[in-house]
């Protein structure tokens, strides 16, 4: 069974190739079928492989499959090869599973689009790239997947290219993440120079044997990899591209900019966790980046008007939680939150897409209202997603995963009180901002007429994802609440578990605090955005609101210190000043030509005078020297 692993990424890739070559000429149903079926079979295969793999644990904690030797130059020998362990298995499962439901959803969502085939071609290419990213056994292949998903993200953000604003958003996403990727590429050079290989397991093995904790190489490599991770995962200081990326079709936001690609940074750090363990300074930086990001994005989400931008900032914020977990060594907790977040954030985006689609592509929540009567199913599923995101106690997946992160931010070896405090405060904000959307969009009076009701292909994925937004949390329950450790014991075959030495009572108190804050947030949202709805619109005149609305001014700042100077320099030197040097030489010789040719007058007297002057000068020089 395990040797069919290569088929999992190969199928969507084959789907892409077929759609790219034939997409314009085949009927929509065929396009939809091929795109969805390839991903669906991959998902089934991933499940089957997962079951087989579980049967082999704990004797065999990993499986490797090498397809062919990619490059072999001067001892640099990366292969096209896959590595399966608990970590990549969870990623592979979530990617294929969520992607399948989003594909299904898209078959209806995009039905009126003229470029149906192109859309699904890109989507399939994305799934294939993402699978290569998570399965790669060496960093070069991982980098291929990494850049591949970036390119697909670019293609899909700019999918509706007629509006050049979408194109600009797409460019921004690609360029900003590329800044991070450049740091990552340098990390790869450093790793190769030091370890003579880019094979991930070999590097981790050698590093744990030969590298001292806190040594320069460990710090440099992990800091550079962190650069790549913050780019891809939209963390400080490279988070600015993600809100704009919402220009893409909503299924794209759900799949790429919520569930899968943006968590690649989390995966990268978890994948190379051995290196990070050797660089405590960088670990602290990861936690700090996570904490700051989750707070900044959480506050920005409070005042957005565009429903997708709320969710975008929410995604940045939730990935911040994952970074926070990684930074305190809670590797398993980060992956747990990745999984639950993939389900409930994909759900929120898809449900939001259903609302947007029903309301004439309206994105502004203040032009929505009372939608729950017309779209009851969308309402209930969105509510489940929101509850999960807000960490509604006991019954939602988000509660268990976020609670685990908050608890470990406090209790693990690298945990710190301020990390926990920011996390728990933002959990409170999270409940407010998402239930603000719930109350404004689904309650109150109707403001825009509901036109289109979602049909089966759109509603079924909502129900399935809502189901998983609840039950996926039950695989990991803290001891104080009954205790179940399916996820963490499975993960422990690939990632070390964080050591926790506090009592169960303390843990229970912390859970209680988080739960109460979440409930309080929901109550406050109800108070402000349900009962006092007419005062709910953010006042654009207020400075603080503007500041938060613009995501704390990062775009403004980057525009001034990077974009404008670059464009200015480029414009000033458009005609290439170096060329004018050569132009000058040419002009000079032409000028001299004019001067000298004007001496050729044909007048003998002038010539004679010239000869005389020349002779005198020569004689004078000869005498003087």
């Amino acid at each position: 069974m395990l040797d069919t692993l290569w088929i999992v990424p190969a199928l969507p890739l084959a789907g892409f190739v077929f759609l790219a070559l034939a997409g314009g000429r085949i009927p929509r149903t065929v396009i939809a079928f091929i795109a969805t079926a390839t991903v669906g079979i991959s998902a089934l295969l991933a499940i089957a492989i997962g079951v087989t793999f579980l049967g082999l644990l704990p004797q065999e904690a990993s499986y490797r499959q090498v397809l062919w030797q990619w490059v072999s130059v001067a001892g640099f020998e990366p292969a096209i090869g896959f590595h399966l362990d608990a970590l990549s298995l969870v990623m592979m499962f979530v990617v294929t599973f969520v992607a399948f439901w989003i594909h299904l959803y898209s078959t209806e969502f995009m039905i009126e689009d003229e470029a149906y085939g192109r859309f699904f071609a890109y989507m399939n290419l994305f799934v294939a790239s993402m699978l290569i990213l998570v399965l790669a056994d060496n960093l070069l292949l991982l980098y291929l997947g990494w850049e591949g998903v970036g390119a697909c993200s670019y293609l899909l953000i700019g999918f509706w290219y007629h509006d050049s604003a979408n194109g600009r958003a797409a460019q921004k996403a690609f360029i900003v993440t590329r800044v991070g990727d450049t740091a990552m590429a340098i990390a790869l050079f450093l790793l190769f120079v030091n370890f003579g290989t880019l094979d991930i397991q070999a590097i981790l093995q050698q590093a744990s044997e030969s590298i001292q904790s806190g040594s320069l190489i460990a710090v440099a490599v992990t800091a550079l990899l962190l650069g790549g991770a913050v780019g891809k995962s939209a963390q400080l200081p490279l988070q600015t591209w993600l809100p704009d990326a919402m220009a893409g079709p909503t299924p794209v936001s759900a799949l790429i900019h919520a569930a899968t690609m943006v968590t690649a940074g989390v995966y990268l750090i978890a994948r190379t966790h051995t290196l990070y363990s050797l660089a405590p300074q960088v670990m602290a930086a990861v936690a700090g980046v996570g904490a700051l990001t989750l707070f900044i994005a959480g506050t920005a989400a409070l005042v957005q008007r565009d429903i997708k931008r709320v969710l975008a900032y929410s995604t940045i914020s939730q990935i911040g939680y994952m970074f926070l977990a990684l930074g305190v060594g809670a590797w398993g907790a980060a992956m747990f939150h990745f999984m639950t977040h993939a389900f409930f954030k994909a759900l929120l985006f898809l449900a939001a897409g259903a609302v947007i689609n029903a309301l004439h592509h309206e994105h502004d929540i203040f032009k929505m209202g009372g939608v729950r009567h017309k779209l009851p199913l969308v309402f209930w599923t969105f509510l489940i997603g929101s509850a999960s995101l807000a960490g509604f106690p006991l019954v939602t997946a988000g509660f268990y995963s976020k609670d685990l992160i908050l608890w470990q931010a406090w209790s693990s070896g690298q945990g710190q009180a301020w990390l926990w405090a920011i996390g728990v405060a933002t959990a409170f904000l999270t409940a407010i901002y998402i239930f603000r959307v719930v109350f404004i969009v689904f309650f109150g009076k109707e403001r825009t007429h509901v036109e289109k009701l979602p049909r089966r292909p759109m509603t079924v994925p909502l129900v399935v994802l809502a189901f998983f937004s609840i039950v996926s949390g039950f695989v990991e329950i803290p001891p104080a609440l009954g205790g179940r450790h399916l996820f963490s014991s499975f993960m422990s075959s690939a990632l070390p578990s964080a050591a926790v030495e506090e009592s169960h009572t303390t843990e229970l108190i912390f859970s209680l605090i988080a739960s109460l804050l979440a409930l309080a947030g929901i109550y406050l949202a109800h108070l402000f955005f349900r009962t006092r709805r007419e005062h709910a619109e953010p006042d654009a005149g207020k400075r603080l609101t503007r500041f938060l609305f613009g995501g704390w001014g990062f775009d403004w700042l980057y525009d001034r210190i990077f974009v404008r100077p670059f464009v200015w320099i480029a414009r000033v030197n458009r005609n290439d000043y170096i060329d004018s040097i050569y132009g000058g030489i040419a002009a000079l010789s032409r000028g001299l030509n004019t001067v000298f040719s004007s001496t050729e007058t044909g007048r003998v007297r002038l010539y004679a005078a010239g000869i005389a002057c020349g002779s005198i000068i020569l004689v004078a020089i000869a005498l003087l020297l």
Partner: protein, 492 residues
């Protein structure tokens, strides 16, 4: 013998198509296409037959021919092919075919003479890649020049005379340095060994050191650096590339620039290893400047061909950097970069040319939204733009990555700055798509999409660039013995 055939076919074919072209332009096109396809097929068969042969008479040479030419001066007709030349020769014929195909509709006047010039340039390029007698090398070096001058000057665009003249003066002035350096080396070697010869292997033994070596090295280097082109000697390139007909741009960018990179790796460093080593920091600095300078200017261009031209300056900076790092990894990367740049930039020039053929402008500010009317061209352009920004999975990435990782081992700072250049590559590459294909079709263009003729050659390019991106090992395997010999020759 194969080398003589390949070159003779082109020279003889040149005269043939000139004659035929007077009666039947179409005949001239077909004959050129057939001759180049024949050469490509011969090269491909030869490659496949020799792909696992690592040595030939003790060296890395796969084919070798050496006849007396002017014995009294020690000039021989010496052609030889090793694994380093072979992929470049194959590229020459592949891009030659591309040049013929993209001129099919564009060139209407003096078709026979056009193809005569085309085949002669290609003959010169082929000769440059295989000549091992420095006099013969110089001969081929000049053979490339004149027909190219005609290609730009006769069939070029608005400012063709200016561009052709500029091209000629720059390269001719640079060639002068090369000629002087070759002659100086010839005399120094002759005085030392008593045997006056232009033979590459003999000249390799010339005991030249200190300032003399540095001067001679610079003589060779400047000539190749102008061709490469290296900042600040690059300004002939944007004009020549922009004004040349499409086939001219394809050959200039795809092949002529590569002769510069080839010359540095084949001659400059093996002949003067110490001087080159001393000079390496300067070369690194100029390479980095070129990568970033070319990329920034490319971004600001509104003329599509000019934009692509400046990207060449940026991309060839990697080749220069890799050459002076002089280790196996960087050199493999440099060669791969040359091959892939030839294909991807050739394809971009072909696209720019066919766009101009359809909408009669190269001004990107008048374009926009072209994807909606020509999706096939949009898709192909997207692929080659991705190649040019170094997307993994496509060949250019392999080249750039190996260069940067190879350079990192000798000069980490250079490598890091070069890597930063990839950000700029992203900016200008995406700008091409944004300006031409995205946005609203404000010019209300209704051009036809790519034809079957265009798609078939571009399809080949796509297959090759993906192949080089996912399985470049056959090329590395072919090149390896040659590189090892080159590196070994500088070790002692």
């Amino acid at each position: 013998m194969i080398l003589v055939i390949l070159i003779a076919v082109l020279f003889a074919g040149g005269f043939l198509v000139w004659g035929v072209g007077r009666r039947s332009p179409l005949g001239a096109r077909w004959i050129s296409l057939l001759l180049l396809s024949f050469n490509l097929a011969v090269t491909a068969v030869f490659w496949v037959q020799n792909h696992d042969r690592t040595s030939f008479f003790g060296g890395a040479w796969l084919a070798d021919i050496s006849w007396d030419w002017i014995p009294s001066l020690g000039i021989r007709f010496h052609l030889a092919l090793d694994g380093f030349s072979l992929p470049l020769v194959a590229l020459t014929f592949l891009l030659g075919i591309m040049a013929v195909v993209c001129s099919w509709n564009e060139i209407r006047e003096r078709v026979g003479f056009f193809h005569f010039n085309l085949l002669f340039v290609l003959a010169g390029v082929t000769g440059v890649f295989v000549a091992l007698d420095l006099f013969l090398f110089y001969f081929f070096w000049e053979v490339m020049l004149v027909p190219m001058y005609f290609l730009i000057g006769i069939w070029g665009h608005e400012r063709r005379n200016y561009a052709a003249m500029k091209f000629f003066i720059f390269t001719q002035a640079a060639s002068l340095f090369l000629l002087i350096a070759i002659l100086a080396l010839y005399f120094i070697n002759g005085r030392y060994s008593g045997l006056y010869t232009f033979e590459y292997f003999s000249l390799l033994q010339t005991p030249v050191a200190g300032p003399t070596a540095m001067l001679l090295m610079l003589g060779f280097f400047i000539s190749f650096a102008v061709k490469l082109p290296m900042v600040p000697f690059h300004t002939w390139l944007p004009d020549a590339h922009t004004e040349a007909p499409t086939a001219g741009s394809v050959i200039l960018a795809g092949l002529l620039l590569k002769t510069g990179g080839y010359g540095i790796i084949r001659f400059v460093i093996p002949l003067f290893p110490e001087a080159a080593k001393e000079f390496a920091p300067v070369a690194f600095a100029l390479a980095v400047v070129g990568i970033i300078y070319g990329a920034v200017i490319a971004f600001s261009q509104t003329d599509l061909k000019r934009l692509v031209a400046y990207t060449s300056i940026s991309h060839l900076g990697f080749v220069l950097m890799g050459a002076f790092a002089w280790n196996e990894m960087a050199l493999q990367g440099s060669l791969m970069q040359m091959l892939c740049h030839g294909i991807s930039t050739g394809a971009l020039f072909m696209l720019a040319g066919s766009l101009q053929e359809r909408i009669h402008t190269r001004d990107t500010s008048r374009m926009g939204g072209l994807w909606s009317v020509m999706p096939r061209m949009g898709g192909v352009a997207m692929l080659f733009v991705m190649a040019s920004l170094g997307l993994p999975g496509l060949g250019n990435f392999i080249g750039e990555f190996l260069v940067l990782m190879g350079v990192f081992q000798t000069s980490p700072v250079t490598s890091i700055l070069g890597t930063a250049g990839l950000i700029f590559a992203t900016i200008y590459s995406l700008a091409i798509i944004q300006r031409a294909f995205h946005g609203e079709n404000s010019g209300r263009w209704h051009p036809g999409d790519l034809t079957v003729r265009e798609m078939s050659i571009l399809g080949v390019m796509i297959v090759v660039i993906i192949w080089l991106g996912l399985y470049p090992q056959p090329v590395f395997g072919t090149v390896l013995p040659a590189l090892q010999q080159l590196i070994a020759s500088t070790a002692g």
